[in-house]
């Protein structure tokens, strides 16, 4: 096999374009801190995974008193296009406690990246102790 490689080299082979190394590949990040507080709960979101099929969020939820926290619906919004994602069932938070929850936001990220749609907003419909609200935060892919 090296013989064939050397033949190619001697003939002046040239790599014109190359794919990115792993560290050069794009990933979604939070534009700023994604913190939320309502009633008896406080929450933060972190982007833990990012790739071709979307991104994955860890939600850290803390209670200041016994509380429940749920994500009843979620979506990622690119301009006028909203792509629905999953939900997180009610988390029981007894007293002052902390829990983590995993929320995958699945979409065709190759399509978005190739189209240059690198800015989006994540919208979470949350229910804190039964009270509904929407938690929004911007994300960017770079």
């Amino acid at each position: 096999m090296p013989v064939r490689v050397l033949v190619l080299v001697l003939l002046g082979a040239c790599v014109v374009t190359r794919p990115p190394e792993l560290g050069e590949r794009p990933r979604w990040i939070l534009v700023g801190p994604a913190a939320y507080a309502a009633g008896c709960a406080q929450a933060d979101a972190f982007v833990r995974k990012s790739g071709k099929t979307g991104l994955g969020l860890t939600l850290r939820v803390r209670s200041i008193a016994s509380c429940t926290f749920a994500v009843t619906a979620s979506r990622i919004v690119f301009g006028r296009r909203a792509i629905a994602a999953g939900a997180i069932g009610p988390l029981d938070l007894p007293g002052r406690s902390q829990r983590y929850a995993w929320l995958p936001i699945k979409f065709d990220n190759d399509e978005m990246w190739n189209d240059g749609r690198d800015d989006a907003t994540i919208e979470l419909d949350v229910a804190v102790a039964g009270t509904a609200a929407t938690w929004k935060f911007p994300v960017h892919q770079q």
Binding site: V9, A13, V16, P104
Partner: protein, 204 residues
């Protein structure tokens, strides 16, 4: 080993290779959370390399000699250029497959023989199959060729346009080609062909 050899030997070219960002996001598994959650805001689980799609383009100038173009028993010569396209999809390690199909298009800029004016040669498109004979790459091709019409007032003759089929065999630095054309019948040429590869690689 092979990839390292290529990268070392092609250092001049690879350093200037343009980064292709098409389909750049990595492979990621979103069905499971990271194995250990610490609450660190900066923690991130990297994805995996998605593999590579390579288009190998071979620019192949050639000089060929043979007979049969005008049925006069005399040798002919031609010089031209072919361009060959191959596609490789894999995990990123390979630049070429050991065996593969390819498409080649080519033309002869000049075709000449004794006592006749130099004319533009034929243009062809071929479907090829390349394989290894031991460690030597060999290639067979089959396709369609066209000769444009040409005026040759110096000998009081007009050359008609013609269409035909061709078969080719290629070894490194060598090409053998046979054609059957509607106006002039069989011809065969062989000679030197220099394949200069260019690799256009991007993410799958």
């Amino acid at each position: 080993m092979r990839r390292a050899l290529i990268l070392v030997a092609l250092v001049g070219c690879t350093q200037y290779a343009h980064k292709a960002t098409h389909n750049a996001p990595p492979i990621v598994n979103l069905d499971a959370p990271p194995p250990r959650e610490t609450g660190d805001p900066n923690a991130f689980t990297p994805g995996e390399q998605p593999g590579t799609e390579t288009l190998a383009v071979f620019v192949m100038p050639n000089i060929l000699i043979g007979t049969g173009r005008w049925n006069n028993g005399k040798a002919i010569g031609e010089t031209g250029m072919s361009v060959r396209f191959e596609r490789v999809v894999d995990n990123g390690a390979r630049y070429l497959n050991d065996s593969t199909f390819a498409v080649t298009v080519g033309t002869a800029f000049v075709q000449f023989t004794e006592n006749r004016p130099t004319v533009y040669g034929g243009t062809f498109v071929e479907l090829n199959y390349r394989f290894l004979m031991g460690v030597v790459p060999a290639d067979v091709g089959m396709g369609v060729a066209v000769y444009p019409g040409a005026s040759a007032p110096a000998i009081g003759e007009d050359l008609s346009a013609a269409i035909g089929g061709q078969l080719s065999v290629r070894l490194p630095l060598f090409q053998l080609r046979a054609r059957y054309m509607t106006e002039t019948g069989f011809e065969i040429v062989a000679g030197y062909e220099l394949p200069i590869p260019f690799f256009f690689r991007r993410s799958r």
